[in-house]
Amino acid sequence: MKRLGIVYHPDYLLHVPPFEHPESPERLQAVMERLEKAKLLEKTAQITPEFADEGDVLAVHDRKYLDQLEKACRRGDMTLDAGDTYLCRHSYNISLLSAGGAIAGAKAVAEGSLDRVFCAIRPPGHHASRDVGMGFCLLNNVAVAAKYLQARFDVGKILIVDWDVHHGNGTQSVFLEDPSVFFFSVHEHPTFIYPGTGRRWEIGKGKGEGATLNAPMAPGSGDDEYRVVFDQVLTPAVERFRPEFVLVSAGFDAHADDPLADIRLSYEGYRYMTRAVIGLAERFCGGKLVSVLEGGYEISSLTNCIEIHVREMLEE
């Protein structure tokens, strides 16, 4: 059995939508209830995160954006700009706690006190770029964790695998010109779904050319198509890149039952992807793996997927 950590904080439920919205506190509540009921909490270490240090967040986001976000929450704005990314009075603080959750997970694994960590955090992060939040995301949790590992633990090369059904456009933009972070995103084809980026010719820029890899999937794709991508596209790329740490932007909205997309992964598909990233972490990174929750909006498939994801990482 692996030493697995679960990052969670009850205050994650304080980021509350002012209108009906799929990214709700109930998602995380249901996830934690499931982990408890499945007796997975007792087999894992509970990590209670703290707010991310401003310095660690500023490694990814602009000061101006943070100020803007904080002010908007204090003013009582309901959304960021005109979009569907909602805010409440606590949202700024909870987004710092969410980024802090990804940091806490990264820290525990980097220090060696745990083998792997799953971060049950919200709001999600992978659509947030340096100077703008969007797509339900305020701060880019996984990007903050990657920069934190490089700054505080001297980790060189990091692999980020983003299997949320939407393209991780925020994460891609943060590391587009950075050769030290390999960003891989597999998602529904951008012609059919938000945010409309992540085409196969988006491969990074300047020094970062070749360190971004996108696998757009036709609507209706499922386990078989994803398996081919993991085995024949991701694995050879990782063999060339040789990362020292693996971070996962784990969205569970690619499951067939999720209403926001047209990808038809089954539970076995999620099991396969989890085993694939574990395998890559074992081969190249001494097993160092941190998975960070992104999307997933249909409660039943979300909780089932996460139970499988966590069990696979635990290796009971």
Binding site: P195, G196, P259, D262
Partner: protein, 220 residues
């Protein structure tokens, strides 16, 4: 939309006396395939394409004794006016983008010089510029989701659809409409500025419209 909005302004031009060698170098340096030829007062007198040059010089090695040096000498000594196309298909400033597309397609050419009333070259519009315009029309690259909706081919159908979307306070970033597979129906392709398409999809279906399942079209 008039061609002026999409053309490249101040395009490279050259005089009829320019050598083919120079013209070839200009094309290589600027990665272009055609150069309009103008008289001293800027009036269009012809156009030279890379194909015109290739048609003039046989590949080195085809004729015994015709060396690379000789080919270069020939190109340096031949002015473009000897091989350029004199009857140029052009667009005018009052032509629209549709006119330009029609001309490019009908004459199977890559680009059109755009001329003013005095036949002076003021721009050039290429197939690439048309593709760029098309990309903008599709809304590609703008952060948004897409909905493909089949609507009956009758007045008010699109308005009803737009009404549903606007009731969710969501912005529409682009709309494309084409005929559907069967007659009497149209397909509307809308890009909308939200990730949260679930409730909107549901409302559209409840209003009696058919949402296209893109995966069904993969095998057609």
């Amino acid at each position: 939309m008039f061609v002026a909005r999409r053309m490249q302004k101040n395009p490279v031009t050259m005089s009829p006396a320019t050598s083919l060698y120079e013209a070839q170098e200009m094309m290589r340096a600027r990665r272009i395939l055609q150069i309009p030829v103008t008289s001293e007062d800027g009036r269009l007198v012809g156009i030279l394409s890379d194909r015109d040059i290739r048609g003039t010089v046989l590949p080195v090695g085809m004729i015994p004794g015709f060396t690379a040096e000789e080919a270069e000498k020939f190109l340096k000594n031949t002015p473009v006016e000897r091989v350029m196309t004199r009857k140029v298909i052009t667009a005018t400033l009052t032509d629209t983008l549709e006119d330009a597309i029609g001309l490019l397609l009908n004459y199977k050419i890559n680009s059109l010089p755009v001329v003013d009333d005095e036949n002076r070259v003021v721009g050039i519009i290429s197939r690439t510029n048309v593709l760029e315009a098309f990309i903008e029309v599709t809304g590609m690259g703008v952060v948004s989701s897409r909905l493909d909706v089949v609507v009956p081919d009758k007045p008010g159908a699109l308005a009803q659809l737009v009404g549903i979307i606007s009731s969710f306070q969501v912005n529409i970033t682009s709309v494309l409409t084409t005929g559907h597979l069967e007659s009497g129906a149209m397909t509307n392709f809308l890009r909308i500025a939200t990730l949260n398409v679930g409730p909107i999809r549901k409302a559209i279906e409840e209003a009696g419209f058919e949402l296209l399942d893109p995966s069904k079209f993969l095998s057609r």
